[in-house]
Structure formats: structure tokens, C-alpha cells
């Protein structure tokens, strides 16, 4: 049984690349391009891991992360936050809000895949 992964990002090209990488690993992938859609998909799809972009219009990744952690149906879901800003304060904030890992864009695809695999193991 393959792992379920939710990809949340507002950049279409980044979504394409992430989707390709995850499918190549044999995961089941669902995509959301904004925060509200992300929460909806998460409840419906119950992913094991979420790749979550921080800078999104309307609802930021931090808010989404907080909401996900508050949802009892989603206990145990792994969250990896992706950000292009990469300031120390944001890393701390993300981890404090319950993210399991924090990855700075641009990222190494190999490292990302390895990290996801180890977290799902």
C-alpha cells in the first residue's frame, strides 16, 4: 500500500515538480494550491504526509499548519514546510506550530525524497 501525500503550493511549476517526484516514488498524490483547499483535501484524503508551502495568498502555510494540528482526525500526519524566505525566525515559528521538518527552497530533490522516505518509514 502506497503512502498518501498532499502537496500544497501556489506555484504551478513547483507543484508539477513535486508531483512528479512523489509519483515516481510510488506515492499517492493530491494537490492543493491554496490554504483553504489544503485543509479540505487533508480532511478528505487523510494524507500521511503534507508538503506545505509557507508563502501563499489568503492563508499562509503557518495558519494551515496550525489548523491541521488542531484537527483530531489528522493526528500523526507528518508536515514538511517549504519556504523560500528561510529566515531563522520562520524556521522556529514553523517548528513551534507543529511542523516536523522545514525545508528551504530551492531544495535538493534527492534530499527531499530521502527525508520524506525516512519520515514515512
Amino acid at each position: 500500500m502506497s503512502h498518501r501525500i498532499l502537496i500544497v503550493d501556489d506555484e504551478p511549476n513547483i507543484v508539477i515538480s513535486l508531483e512528479y517526484l512523489m509519483k515516481k516514488e510510488g506515492f499517492q498524490v493530491v494537490v492543493a494550491t491554496n490554504g483553504d483547499a489544503a485543509l479540505e483535501q487533508a480532511s478528505a484524503f487523510l494524507p500521511e504526509l503534507i508538503l506545505l508551502d509557507v508563502m501563499m495568498p489568503k492563508k499562509s502555510g503557518f495558519e494551515v499548519c496550525q489548523a491541521l494540528r488542531a484537527n483530531p482526525a489528522l493526528t500523526g500526519v507528518k508536515i514538511i514546510m517549504l519556504t523560500a524566505k528561510g529566515r531563522e525566525t520562520e524556521v522556529t515559528k514553523g517548528l513551534a506550530l507543529g511542523a516536523d521538518a522545514y525545508i528551504t527552497k530551492p531544495f535538493s530533490t534527492k534530499d527531499l525524497v530521502l527525508q520524506i522516505k525516512s519520515m514515512l518509514a
Binding site: 513547483i14 515516481k24 494550491t33 523560500a84 530551492p106 535538493s108 530533490t109
Partner: protein
């Protein structure tokens, strides 16, 4: 030929001339060309010190005691040697505080106390009235003697003639009328009477000439020089006794006492204070008066002893009063002209004294006695009366009349009890009571109101008991038993041998006890407490001199609206208006209405009023309109601080610390601004970083994917490479725009400004985008038919704006059905270009946000990716460019109704005629 009518006529002609001189001097003063503003006039006017007491009395005293007349003139000589320390300071202080009299001076010094001013006034009036009586007596006597010319008959005893035949009564009435004319013609803000001073200077000259003339006549006319007189006198035993003084400690003591007494009298007698201090035009005049006044005294005394000796020899049997020798010697030799001159000289001496003394006293009575009382009586409603200046003059006129009346009464009742010289000394001893509080007040800051009150009252009481009451008793007003046996028969209380002190003459005896009580009271009571704030403030003003001028007198404020009417009530509206206007001009203001309601204005008004009604009353009146704020503790400390240097230093420190505080505040503000800028810069960099990293992320991800997996199929591979290429383009565009914006914002952008045809730019921009529009099947309509819409701008930059707006529109309109419409037109002054689309529109709250850097419209929800294309820098850059050319760029839109971007630019001057649509 010296009939009564001749004498009367001569008297009136002389007084008429004096009045003409006074009138002329007043006129000159009004036109600003003061007649008396020179040191000679000042020195001569000080000669008012020499009254009939000098003119007639010195000879009398010389006949009684030889050189005993001299100390009265040596004292003032010594005082003027000290002028640099005492008089100069008094004048400065009096001018700075607009002091109007000695009562005002004392009241002002000890915290502007009305009670103190009143006490000084009472002492001065009581002390000086006998002295005025003396003048009346001298004039009426001289008139009576002259009227019997050529016979020499001593006048009848005062009081022996019926009231209405008494020439002294008429003399008093005439002098009262004359004084009122001189002294109360108008109410001067500074209480200076230039006309009076001029007349007094003339009188001084006349009496000096008259006396010198008598002297010359007696010495060289009647005898063969001074040596001859002394030689003859030595031969007559009764006369020879006057050639030396009793060689005893008591005699030397009396001598010293008289020098000391006259030293203070020449400063503290109300008329001396009036002339030397109040009427002083310029403190510089004091410099020459320092020697001129003593020289005047020297000259007027030059022939006293020879005349006295000659008189004693000429009238050996004592039937002729020695006080009249000056007049009777020329009479005895039928020197009619000289006799008349002497009479006029005596009249000068008397009128001069009476005029100045009564003016000074009336000012004190009015300002320090009557006005404070009247203002306190609520039933009179004076405090609310609009114009009090008339009332003030009225009070002074009445005061003059009453004072002269009292003088006449004293003359009538007590006139014969004493020789002229004794009366003068009683007055001297009375005003000597002012010495501790005046001199102490000038040099000692510790004196308090209570101390001054106590000292003055004690000294005055002792003076009255030891000198005045005995003089009454000798005049028969009082039973004289208490003189011989003491009050209540207590031997120790004998007024002229108080506590058993014997061996002194009555004047010295009085001075010893009265000044002991006075000084003891003044110092002892003053030391009971530290001066309160108001006393300390006045002490600083008086003792500190000019240095203290900056000290605030009031800690409250009142505006011109309150103070001008107040001053107007006492000075008259016009005079007050003038004074305020001058004050405003001094402060560099256009009109008096610009005067701020500050401490300085209040102080000015108070000083102005003080000139009219005295400092104590002025303070009370000003207090009624000023809302005084309590003194802060710092100010109290400041005033109490003895060392002015410490104060100056403290002030400097405060200044510095104030400057430091200010600088600190500025620095803090600048720091906050910097921190804000820093935060903004940080945010900007963070945003830029994000914007740069986003395309980089895609590029790296796809590159790695292609690199790591050679087995990717061709279609996928070409799609990935396409993405990489487009993200690279996006990245480089972003970098260009960031650099562009940085250049624009820092002002380093290069501009090629020229006349640009807007229609042409629109066409060119549209052409360059034709392919893109065609690709998305969007219709582009150009309404750029107006030729020659000329603006002054950089053509390439304008093109950049146009392309940006068009591509923006293209980005947001739907494919196939999208329509973009460009309009151009303008008014006389500006060119207006609009780019309208039928896209989703922009919500009103976003209409300004879209012009911020990296903030793109979020109302484009129907777009698949939810994320608008572009860098978010196009609109900010466009706005920068348009604003650089003094234009405006904005958007008009409603959600769902499309957006319409509009910019305007100023039309280039000179092409209006072509395009006035």
C-alpha cells in the same frame, strides 16, 4: 521805597518767573529736549538741601555756637564721596523699579508691603512738618522785618497776631497754590517733574548769589576783609567765645553726631530723595554732582561765620535775632537792592524746600496711605472705577494743601519754642530712622518686612518720646513735668536722659537710643526667620543690582486685554496706550495687541503702575487681574540662593541638561526611524529573496530531475525544459526590475527627457504586444486618434509604462472573450491615457495595494492557478515613472466589471492650441 506792596509784587514777579521757567522746562521735556538733562542742573537742584534753615539759620547757629553750623554740610560732602557705592545704587534700583518716593522704596524693598509704605509715610509727614513750619516762619518773619524798613523791628511772636493778619497764613496758602501748580499738573508715569527741577535749580542759584552778595558786602563793604572781622571779634569777649569750640568729649560727640545725621538726612529727607533719586534724569549726572554739590555747600557756607560775627558786633545788645542777620545787616546799612535780593534768596530757599518736600510727601500720602485705604474700602467701589487718574491728582492736591495747613498749624502753635536750627535737627533725626532699612535694604538680603516694620516703629517711637514730645512740652502743648521727672515719675524714663544716660545733647541722646532700638529691631526681628519668597525676590532686585534684573517678578500671566484698561484707569487711557505701544516696540512687535500674555508683560505693567500709584498699590492692583501661579520649588531655591555665580552656573547646567535631553529625544526618534527603515528593508529583502528563490526552486528541481533520470520520455523532457526556460526568463526579468526599481528609488536612474508624442508611444507599445494579444485571442482597441498629444518625458520609460499596463491587462482578461481598450485625450493642462479591460476587476481595498512592491491583486480567483503572473513590480515601477514626470497613475475598478488604469501627465507648454479638446 521798600513798601509792603513792593515786596509783595517782587515776590509774585519772582514766583511768576519761576513758574514760567518750569512751564518752559515741561514743554521742552514733552518735546523730548530736556532742559534739565545735564549734571550742572542736577547738582544745583540738589541745593534744595539748603533751606531757610541754611540761608537764615546757619548764621544764627554760628552766632550761638561758632563753627557748630558746619557739620550739617560736611555730612553731605562725605555722603557724596560715597555716591559711587550708595547713591548710584539707589538710583539704579529706583529707576529699575520705578520708585516714586522713599516710602515706595522701603515698601518695595521689603516685599511691596503697603503697611511699611504707610509707616514710612507717617514718619516722614510727622518728622518733616515742623521743618515746613520753619520755612513758613522764616518767610513770614523776613517779610515782617522787611515791611518795617528802614527800621529794624523783630516780628511779633507767632500766634500773637490774629489769624487773618498773619502773613505766614498767606505764605502757606500761596505756597500751596504754587506747589499744586508745579507738582500736580499731570500724572507722570515716572513721577518726574522736569519743570519743578528746573525752577529748583534756578532757586538754588539765586539763593547762593544772594548769600554770597551779603557775604561780600559784610566782609568787604562793612569791614576790610575776613582778617579784619576775626581780629575785631577777638577783641570783643562775648563774640570771641564763638571763635573756638568747647573742647570737651561731649562737644566732639555732638559734632560727630551732626555730621552723621546730616549725611543721612541729605539722602533720606523726602525732598532729597525726590531730587537725587526720583528726579534724576541719568545716573551719569551723579558723577559731576559728586563734587559740584559739596562745592555748592562750601560756597554757601563761606561767609556764614564772618556774617555771624559781624552781626554780633553790629547788634551787640541782642535785640536782633541772629537768625535775621543776613537780612538785617544790609538793612542797617540801607542797602535796599541787596536787602531785596536777600529776601528773594530767602524766599527761594523756602519755596524750593516747600515745593519739593510737599510734592514728595503728597506722593507718599497719596500712593502709600490714601490710595491703599481707598482701594480697600469696598463701599467706594474704587477698584471698579474706570478712570482713577483724575482722582489721583485730586488726592495729591488735597494732600499738598493739608500738609501745608499742618505746617502752618505747627508754626502757629509751636513756632517760637525753638530756634530755627533745632527744628531742622528734629526732622533730621526723624528721617535718620530710615537709614537702617534703606541702607540695610541695599546691602543686606536678610532684612524682612517684619524686621523693617519693627525697627522703624521702634526708632520712631523713641524719637517721638525723646525729641518730639519734649519739643511739644517746651511749646506748652503738654505738661512739661515728664521731662524733668520722667513718665509716671519714673526717673529712668526721663525722655532726654533715658535710662540715666546723661552728658549728651538731646539730638545725640535721641539718636543713640532711637537708632539702637531701630537697628536692634530691624536686625533682630529680621533674623527670626528667613525672608519669604517675595521678600527674597525684592532683596535680589535691590541688593543684586543689575544682575538680578532677569529674575521674574510674577509667576502668572495676564494679557493686554486685562492690563491695558487697568493701567488706563490710573494713567489715563491715552498715556497707557502710548506706554504699552512703546513696550511692544521695544520687544520688536508691530502693535501692542501682539504682546504675549507673559511674565514680562505683567512686570512691565506693574512697574508702569508703580510709577503712578507706588509699588505696593501697583502690586495689589495687578494681582487683581493676574492669575498667579505658585512658585515652583526650583524657582524658590533659585531666589533664595545667595551666590549669584552659583545660580548662573546652575542655570548654565540646566540649559546644558535641557539641550542634552532635547538631543537625546531627537536621537531616540532618529533611531526609531532607522529601526523602522531597517525593518522595512529587511521585509523587502526577505520578499525579494522569496521572489528570486521561487523560480530558482523550479529551475533546480527540474534540472535535477532531468539530470538524475536519463530515462524520462521525450515529451516530458521537453516540457520540463520549457518550464526551466520560462522560469529563467522570469528570474532575469525579476532581477532587471528589482535593479530598475532600486535605481528609480535612489534617484540614480538616467532620464532622457524630450517632447514625446503619447499617441505614438501607445501605438508602438501596442504593436510590440500584438503577437501576445493574438496568441490569447484578446481584442485590443486603440483610441489614439488624437495627434500631437505632447508631453515632456523619457520616451523609453513611457513605453515601459504603456507595455506594463497593456501586458497587465492582457494577463487578467479571459482568453477569447477578453477585450482591452486604450483611450487617449486630455485637457488644456494635461494628457490622459487609460487602459481598460474586461477582466475580473479589483476589489476596492486592493486598489492601492497593487501599487505596493510584490503585492499582486488577489481578486483573480477564476484564474486556474490562483496565483497571478508577474513579478509584482511592474505597477510600482510604472507609478514611479509617471510621478517622476509630475503625473498620476491610479486604477478605477469594481469587482466583476473590469479594471481601468489611468495615468495623466502635464501637457507640454506650447501645444495647447493644437489639442484644446
Amino acid at each position: 521805597m521798600l513798601q509792603g506792596w513792593v515786596i509783595v509784587l517782587a515776590s509774585f514777579v519772582y514766583l511768576g518767573i519761576l513758574f514760567a521757567i518750569a512751564w518752559y522746562a515741561d514743554r521742552r521735556a514733552d518735546s523730548g529736549r530736556s532742559l534739565i538733562a545735564n549734571p550742572v542742573v542736577y547738582a544745583l537742584s540738589l541745593g534744595v538741601y539748603c533751606t531757610t534753615w541754611t540761608f537764615y539759620g546757619s548764621v544764627g547757629r554760628a552766632a550761638a555756637s561758632g563753627i557748630g553750623f558746619l557739620p550739617i554740610y560736611l555730612g553731605p560732602t562725605l555722603l557724596f564721596a560715597l555716591a559711587g557705592f550708595v547713591l548710584h545704587k539707589m538710583i539704579k534700583v529706583a529707576k529699575a523699579n520705578r520708585i516714586t518716593s522713599i516710602a515706595d522704596f522701603v515698601a518695595s524693598r521689603y516685599g511691596k508691603s503697603q503697611l511699611l509704605g504707610g509707616l514710612v509715610t507717617v514718619i516722614a509727614v510727622v518728622g518733616v512738618i515742623p521743618y515746613i513750619a520753619l520755612q513758613l516762619k522764616a518767610v513770614s518773619n523776613s517779610f515782617a522785618i522787611l515791611a518795617s524798613y528802614p527800621e529794624i523791628i523783630m516780628p511779633a511772636k507767632a500766634g500773637a497776631v490774629p489769624l487773618f493778619q498773619d502773613s505766614a497764613l498767606y505764605v502757606a496758602m500761596i505756597l500751596a497754590a504754587f506747589t499744586i501748580l508745579f507738582g500736580t499738573r499731570h500724572l507722570d508715569a515716572t513721577e518726574r517733574h522736569e519743570g519743578m527741577v528746573a525752577a529748583i535749580a534756578v532757586e538754588s542759584t539765586v539763593k547762593l548769589i544772594a548769600f554770597l552778595a551779603v557775604g561780600v558786602f559784610v566782609v568787604w563793604g562793612m569791614h576790610q576783609g575776613v582778617g579784619d572781622i576775626f581780629a575785631q571779634a577777638a577783641a570783643v569777649p562775648t563774640v570771641a567765645r564763638r571763635l573756638a569750640t568747647a573742647d570737651s568729649p561731649a562737644a566732639y560727640g555732638t559734632w560727630g553726631t551732626l555730621i552723621f545725621l546730616s549725611l543721612f538726612a541729605s539722602l533720606l529727607l523726602p525732598r532729597q530723595f525726590q531730587i537725587a533719586v526720583v528726579e534724576n534724569v541719568d545716573a551719569k549726572h551723579l558723577s559731576r554732582a559728586v563734587w559740584m554739590f559739596p562745592l555748592y555747600l562750601f560756597l554757601i557756607n563761606l561767609f556764614v561765620l564772618p556774617v555771624a560775627l559781624a552781626g554780633m558786633m553790629h547788634f551787640p545788645n541782642g535785640t536782633v535775632d541772629a537768625d535775621t542777620f543776613v537780612l538785617t545787616l544790609p538793612m542797617a546799612h540801607q542797602q535796599e537792592a541787596l536787602t531785596l535780593l536777600v529776601y528773594i534768596g530767602g524766599l527761594s530757599a523756602a519755596t524750593g524746600m516747600v515745593i519739593v518736600e510737599t510734592i514728595a510727601l503728597s506722593t507718599m500720602v497719596c500712593n502709600d496711605l490714601v490710595m491703599p485705604l481707598l482701594l480697600r474700602l469696598p463701599m467706594l467701589g474704587l477698584a471698579a472705577r474706570a478712570d482713577l487718574s483724575g482722582l489721583l491728582l485730586e488726592i495729591r492736591r488735597w494732600a499738598i494743601a493739608v500738609i501745608l495747613c499742618l505746617g502752618y498749624l505747627y508754626f502757629r502753635v509751636a513756632g517760637e519754642a525753638y530756634a530755627l536750627v533745632s527744628i531742622g535737627l528734629i526732622s533730621f533725626a526723624a528721617v535718620a530712622q530710615f537709614a537702617p532699612v534703606v541702607i540695610g535694604g541695599l546691602f543686606w538680603k536678610g532684612g524682612t518686612r517684619d524686621g523693617a516694620l519693627f525697627g522703624l516703629a521702634a526708632g520712631f517711637a523713641v524719637w517721638a518720646y525723646t525729641l518730639l514730645l519734649p519739643s511739644f512740652a517746651k511749646s506748652g502743648w503738654l505738661p512739661d513735668g515728664f521731662i524733668a521727672h520722667g513718665l509716671f515719675g519714673i526717673d529712668l524714663l526721663r525722655p532726654q536722659h533715658l535710662f540715666g544716660l546723661t552728658g549728651l545733647d538731646e539730638i545725640t541722646h535721641c539718636l543713640v537710643w532711637s537708632l539702637l532700638a531701630n537697628l536692634g529691631g530691624y536686625i533682630g526681628v529680621s533674623l527670626q526667620r528667613v525672608p519669604n519668597v517675595r521678600e527674597a525676590r525684592q532683596a535680589t532686585l535691590f541688593v543684586g543690582g543689575a544682575e538680578a534684573a532677569g529674575l521674574p517678578g510674577w509667576h502668572g500671566s495676564a494679557g493686554v486685554a486685562d492690563l491695558l484698561p487697568l493701567a488706563g484707569r490710573f494713567l489715563g487711557a491715552e498715556r497707557a496706550q502710548d506706554a504699552f505701544t512703546r513696550h511692544a516696540q521695544q520687544r520688536g512687535l508691530q502693535s501692542l495687541h501682539e504682546l504675549p500674555a507673559d511674565t514680562r508683560l505683567v512686570n512691565f505693567a506693574e512697574t508702569l503702575l508703580a510709577g503712578a500709584i507706588g509699588s505696593a498699590s501697583a502690586r495689589a492692583m495687578v494681582a487683581s487681574v493676574v492669575t498667579e501661579e505658585p512658585l515652583g520649588i526650583n524657582e524658590v531655591m533659585n531666589i533664595l540662593d545667595e551666590a549669584s555665580q552659583v545660580r548662573a552656573y546652575t542655570r548654565e547646567l540646566e540649559q546644558k541638561s535641557l539641550e542634552l535631553t532635547r538631543a537625546t529625544a531627537e536621537l531616540r526618534e532618529a533611531n526609531a526611524r532607522l529601526r523602522e527603515l531597517d525593518r522595512m528593508k529587511d521585509d523587502f529583502i526577505s520578499t525579494v529573496t522569496h521572489e528570486l528563490r521561487t523560480p530558482l526552486t523550479s529551475i533546480r528541481a527540474f534540472s535535477e530531475m532531468l539530470h538524475d533520470d536519463p530515462k524520462i520520455d521525450l515529451a516530458q523532457r521537453s516540457r520540463f525544459l520549457g518550464i526551466i526556460v520560462s522560469e529563467t526568463v522570469r528570474l532575469s526579468r525579476l532581477i532587471n526590475q528589482i535593479l530598475d526599481l532600486a535605481k528609480l528609488e535612489s534617484g540614480r536612474a538616467e532620464w532622457t527627457v524630450a517632447a514625446v508624442d503619447v499617441a505614438e508611444v501607445i501605438r508602438e507599445a501596442a504593436e510590440s504586444l500584438t503577437a501576445l494579444f493574438a496568441e490569447k485571442h484578446v481584442t485590443l482597441e486603440l483610441d489614439a486618434s488624437h495627434p500631437g498629444l505632447m508631453v515632456l518625458a523619457d520616451r523609453d520609460r513611457l513605453m515601459q509604462v504603456m507595455v506594463n499596463l497593456l501586458s497587465n491587462a492582457l494577463k487578467f482578461v479571459p482568453a477569447e472573450s477578453g477585450r482591452v481598450k486604450v483611450g487617449a485625450g486630455g485637457t488644456v493642462n494635461e494628457v490622459r491615457v487609460s487602459v481598460a479591460d474586461n477582466g475580473p476587476g479589483i476589489q476596492s481595498e486592493d486598489q492601492e495595494v497593487i501599487f505596493d512592491k510584490f503585492r499582486q491583486g488577489a481578486g483573480t480567483t477564476d484564474v486556474l492557478t490562483d496565483k497571478p503572473q508577474g513579478t509584482g513590480l511592474g505597477l510600482p515601477i510604472s507609478r514611479q515613472i509617471i510621478e517622476y514626470f509630475n503625473g498620476r497613475l491610479w486604477v478605477e475598478s469594481a469587482p466583476g466589471a473590469g479594471a481601468r488604469f489611468v495615468f495623466t501627465l502635464p501637457r507640454q507648454a506650447g501645444d495647447n492650441d493644437q489639442n484644446a479638446d
